[in-house]
């Protein structure tokens, strides 16, 4: 029997010493009565050094740790007072003052008369688990942060069937789709399949052949708008390394496209300017001869019929002359005489001229919303007046049945003056919008198509910008930005 008891004691010791957790027996004053070998290993303290010592004072050394020591003591007291187990996590210092995160289980030891005679502490060192957990959490958070800050990028993943399985934050902003509405829809809903290079089959073929696909193309938003992007596609491998779909990254290049278009437009206009200057010169000479000779002939004694014909020749020559003058005006990239220009005053000045151009039986209401005391812009007064006049006449002409012209002026961040001329006219179809500033483009039957291109030229010479928004049936809005002086 004695042998059996001895053996049991030995076995118990073996268990206690070989277990992977700290096991400590404290008396009611928190002094260590017993600790196993794992305690020595984890804390770094030798068995002989800590037996009989105050556990809390050993583990929470120094003034910095008084709070931690008090917290541990509070938990321990609660456990003893309520006579029930307690689980909690805490940081302790080992012999080399390294922090160890321990998951504790505190159990009161009951002695006679339901009194507590001490406590058993079982501690599981979870330092490594926590550290790994923390870094995993932080990578996850970092990725989330990155994905949510990619406003110019859309990131989405499709499975092998082409259905969207992930739709990143940037995708929602760029493409207007809510994640929950697009998940599991086929990716063709985003890809502009009219653009042959963008069909999924072709993209996947490229990825298969070259490892990736990259192309400047367009994506379709929920509202049906095409957004210019650089689209790249790669194979998507899951955590097990299995090819489970494709990842797409689209970079929104709307701004770049806009700048490219403006530069292209400017280049085209300047080439056209040169061409028209040369052409105007070549027309002016013979035209002078035609009108000059007919004017001289008119002074001769001639029959009424011939005089009538000469008159016709003259008036037609004058008509060509007016056209050539407009072309010349357009072609001249003269340096404007810059000075301070009060935008509100400039508009007020030309309004009567615009109204004069209007037929009296058309009822047009002019609404002026002018920012008071706006800073002057840097500009050539006459040229800017010509722009405003052109835009307002344009607005009148777009409303043959009458309507409202709203002229708004305001400051934009103390950098630019914003001038808007908005009409309630027939509007311009979207596909024609990009052409309105081109010379000889007109939606009017009798239009010369030079007014807006002259405006464009002038505003460009002023380092400003002019844009048009229009909706058929609702009207058009011209927005001009001019830098303050």
């Amino acid at each position: 029997m004695g042998l059996v008891i001895k053996e049991t004691k030995e076995i118990l010791h073996e268990i206690l010493d070989n277990t992977g957790v700290i096991i400590i027996y404290l008396d009611i004053n928190e002094n260590i009565v017993f600790c196993n070998k794992k305690t020595e290993k984890i804390t770094g303290f030798k068995h002989g050094d800590i037996i009989g010592a105050n556990w809390l004072k050993i583990l929470f050394r120094g003034n910095d740790n008084i709070i931690k020591q008090d917290m541990f003591k509070a938990v321990l007291d609660e456990c003893m007072r309520h006579k029930r187990e307690k689980d909690f996590e805490g940081v302790v210092l080992d012999s080399e003052r390294n922090e160890r995160i321990i998951s504790w289980n505190l159990t009161p030891v009951m002695i006679e008369n339901n009194q507590t005679g001490g406590s058993i502490l079982i501690g599981h060192d979870i330092t490594k688990i926590r550290e790994a957990g923390n870094s995993a959490k932080s990578i996850d958070q970092t990725l989330k942060d990155i994905l949510s800050s990619l406003k110019d990028y859309a990131l989405y993943v499709i499975n092998l069937n082409g259905n969207i399985t992930y739709f990143g934050m940037g995708s929602e902003i760029m493409l207007g789709w809510n994640k929950k509405d697009i998940i599991f829809k086929h990716v063709d809903i985003l890809h502009n399949i009219k653009d042959s290079g963008n069909n999924l089959h072709f993209i996947l073929e490229q990825v298969r052949l070259f490892g990736k696909y990259e192309k400047e193309t367009t994506l379709i938003t929920k509202a049906g708008e095409a957004i210019p992007v650089i689209l790249t596609a790669n194979k998507f491998l899951d955590s097990a390394g299995k090819h489970s779909g494709y990842i797409f990254i689209a970079k929104d290049i709307t701004e770049r496209k806009k700048l490219e278009y403006q530069a292209f437009q400017a280049e085209k206009l300047s080439a056209l300017g040169l061409l028209s200057a040369g052409m105007a010169h070549e027309i002016n000479n013979p035209l002078l001869v035609i009108s000059g000779r007919s004017a001289l002939l008119m002074k001769e004694r001639l029959s009424q019929r011939i005089k009538k014909d000469l008159d016709l020749i003259n008036s037609q020559a004058e008509r060509i002359q007016r056209m050539v003058d407009r072309i010349l005006k357009f072609s001249q990239k003269t340096k404007p005489a810059f000075g301070p220009v009060g935008v509100n005053e400039a508009i007020e000045f030309i309004l009567p001229f615009a109204q004069y151009n209007n037929l009296p039986d058309i009822k047009v209401e002019i609404k002026k919303i002018f920012e008071k005391n706006m800073r002057p812009v840097k500009g050539d007064l006459h040229q800017l007046q010509e722009v405003f006049l052109n835009l307002i006449i344009n607005a009148y002409q777009s409303m043959p049945k009458g309507g409202v012209i709203k002229i708004t002026t305001s400051s934009f961040r103390n950098l630019f003056a914003l001038i808007q001329v908005k009409d309630t006219g027939q509007g311009i179809p979207g596909e024609l919008l990009k052409d309105v500033f081109m010379p000889f483009f007109s939606t009017k039957n009798d239009g010369k198509g030079l007014g807006l291109s002259i405006c464009h030229n002038i505003i460009e010479n002023h380092n400003g910008s002019i844009e048009l928004e229009s909706q058929v049936g609702l009207g058009s809005t011209f927005t001009i930005k001019l830098p303050f002086i």
Binding site: H281, L287, G292, A295, L296, L328
Partner: protein, 125 residues
């Protein structure tokens, strides 16, 4: 006779028209087609006014003007051009000392009136 005028224009129909128009205004007119010819004529003869086209083959109207000003500060020289009202050409012409500037895009009557105004003020000035 109102003025003795030298008309310089490379295009014969324009040259002849200006000749006829000015003759009607009681001017005595000499004509030539190039800047080089004009400078030669100016050496041989004296004129009250020169009506000088800007775009000419060989030396340009502006260079002719510059040449004239090297020797004669007072001779009235009126520039005329098919480029019409062109600020760059106007400022260059002024810089070189022209007495006036006429665009061929003006109505004929206005061309003559403007010519007479410039010539008169140049002579009086």
């Amino acid at each position: 006779m109102l003025y003795k005028v030298l008309v310089v224009d490379d295009e014969a129909p324009v040259r002849d028209l200006l000749n006829d128009l000015l003759k009607r205004e009681d001017c005595k007119v000499s004509i030539c087609a190039t800047g080089e010819e004009a400078l030669e004529l100016l050496k041989k003869d004296t004129f009250d006014v020169v009506l000088l086209d800007i775009k000419l083959p060989g030396i340009s109207g502006l260079e002719v003007l510059k040449n004239i000003r090297d020797t004669d500060k007072n001779l009235p020289v009126i520039m005329i051009t098919g480029f019409g009202y062109n600020e760059d050409l106007i400022s260059k012409s002024k810089e070189f000392g022209c007495s006036g500037y006429i665009g061929k895009n003006m109505p004929v009557a206005q061309i003559i009136t403007t010519f007479k105004q410039f010539a008169k003020s140049a002579k009086n000035g």
